[in-house]
């Protein structure tokens, strides 16, 4: 059962959260790469109940070919929610929101990839939300950057992402769906080794003078997520080394 709006509101006023974690704690995160054998790169990322599968194909020939750029690769991102991912069945046709999020995710990833290394080609990224509980775009970005790195695409850095919320004077990290309905939601993504932010969105109302603080909290969390991403990538190869002895 999803908690009611009033319950969440009451708890947040007291500085508590519905799932018992602290305001600045992200949800439990798990990551695994190489989960789909026939794709060049793949990753599955869980942030709390949110679960996203990302698959990377390519570099491949650009389709439709008139989109091909002689100087760089085209990054094609498809963000989709599975029909069974939400409480009520989601219609399988791509919604306006899904098309927009595809663009948002693409723009968060593009600065990290050396697209000019793959002229006239296309790199395809499929993000499928298996279970949605808030923060699906941030989980998708985390998964996509892992899948791209696992595919051996040349990259500046991995991209880590998290959403920060603001409610009643309080800043909270990694919103779930119940909190997302209530709070101002500020999803962001960054390249931690380069200290550059690649995505910053905001909706709802929050005081402008808190934005620095909000970003600082986000950056701190993204650095933690980044460590997990690195470990997840290396784990795949370390496991093989262990099995050999």
């Amino acid at each position: 059962m999803r908690p009611s709006r009033e319950e969440v509101e009451e708890l947040l006023r007291k500085g508590k959260r519905i799932d018992g974690r602290g305001l600045l704690d992200p949800r439990p995160i798990s990551m695994e790469v190489g989960v789909v054998e026939r794709a060049e790169g793949s990753a599955i990322v869980s942030m709390g109940k949110t679960r996203v599968l990302c698959v990377v194909r390519g570099p491949m020939e650009c389709v439709p070919s008139h989109l091909a750029d002689p100087e760089r690769a085209i990054l094609d991102v498809a963000y989709r929610m599975a029909t069974f991912s939400t409480e009520e069945r989601k219609s399988p046709s791509p919604s306006r929101r899904e098309i927009e999020l595809s663009k948002v995710i693409r723009e968060a990833l593009e600065p990290a990839i050396f697209l000019e290394e793959y002229p006239r080609m296309m790199i395809r990224v499929y993000c499928l939300v298996l279970q949605a509980d808030g923060g699906t775009r941030t989980a998708s970005i985390n998964a996509a950057s892992l899948a791209l790195a696992y595919a051996g695409i040349q990259m500046q850095d991995l991209v880590a992402s998290v959403a920060v919320g603001y409610y009643d004077g309080k800043i909270l990290v990694d919103l779930n769906a119940a909190e997302d309905d209530l709070c101002a939601d500020i999803p962001m993504a960054m390249m931690p080794a380069h200290n550059k932010i690649t995505l910053l969105q905001a909706d709802h109302i929050f005081p402008v003078d808190r934005i620095d603080e909000i970003i600082k909290v986000g950056v701190m969390t993204m650095r933690r997520i980044y460590e997990l991403q690195r470990d997840a990538l290396k784990k795949k190869y370390v496991e093989v080394a262990k099995s050999v002895g």
Partner: protein, 241 residues
């Protein structure tokens, strides 16, 4: 999992964006770049080898990008009047001109291209010319290149090919010596094997898949040697499979 091997060589796994070294004069090779501020970062997931001032990141994954002089194995997937198109595991198909295959002028009035190579035929060729964003051109003009008949094809990740060949082709020679098979290795991740018995080909396929999986773990040649010896003994006794 940093660890030291044979004196000053350091090897560890790096991921994109990971800082390898800062400032100073380094010779950077492989999947790494020097950024404007002097930090050296890895650009792909790979195995870092650091020896004194030499930095080399050997990629562990990635697509095949042809270079001039690569030996590749291609499969005929299309043809026109004077050339074939070969699938070489790259975004674009490779063009093989009839005259480059036959090593003589090709007369379209007297002969047909399908007399020599048909769809699905396997060719061992050398990359003669690469233009970014276009079909690479391959050739069989030099000795040793041409159509491959019989045998089987093994497909692996192209970045693991140097491991299959080994230092000064030690790994490949080991496999050839023990199994007495004919092997051609394409830089594009396709390996062609022909042996006396199909069981031997099967054994080589298993072994090559093992090299692909364990390419970053040290002591590989020894493990492969053992596996081949055991496998060959089984085949000779008829216990294979």
């Amino acid at each position: 999992m940093a660890r030291r091997l044979r004196g000053a060589i350091t090897t560890r796994i790096v991921v994109p964006g990971e800082i390898i070294a800062q400032g100073g004069q380094y010779n950077v090779k492989g999947a790494a770049i020097v950024r404007a501020d002097g930090t050296i970062i890895a650009t792909r997931i790979g195995l870092l080898r650091m020896k004194g001032r030499d930095i080399n990141v050997v990629p562990l994954a990635g697509p095949y990008i042809p270079n001039r002089g690569d030996n590749v194995i291609g499969i005929v997937v299309d043809y026109s009047v004077v050339y074939w198109l070969l699938e070489i595991n790259y975004v674009w198909k490779a063009r093989l001109d009839a005259s480059d295959f036959l090593r003589r002028p090709f007369d379209t009035g007297k002969e047909r291209i399908t007399d020599y190579l048909k769809m699905g035929d396997v060719v061992y060729a050398k990359v003669a010319h690469v233009e970014r964003g276009m079909n690479p051109i391959v050739s069989c003009r030099e000795k040793g290149y041409g159509k491959l008949e019989g045998g089987r094809l093994i497909s692996i990740n192209p970045v693991k090919i140097p491991r299959v060949i080994g230092v000064k082709s030690s790994m490949l020679e080991t496999i050839k010596r023990i199994t007495k098979a004919e092997i051609k290795v394409g830089a594009n991740g396709i390996i062609w094997v022909r042996a006396e018995k199909p069981e031997i080909e099967e054994l080589i396929e298993l072994v090559i898949k093992k090299i692909e999986k364990e390419s970053h773990v040290s002591g590989l040649t020894k493990r492969i040697q053992n596996e081949l010896m055991v496998g060959m003994r089984k085949i000779q006794k008829g216990e294979w499979g």
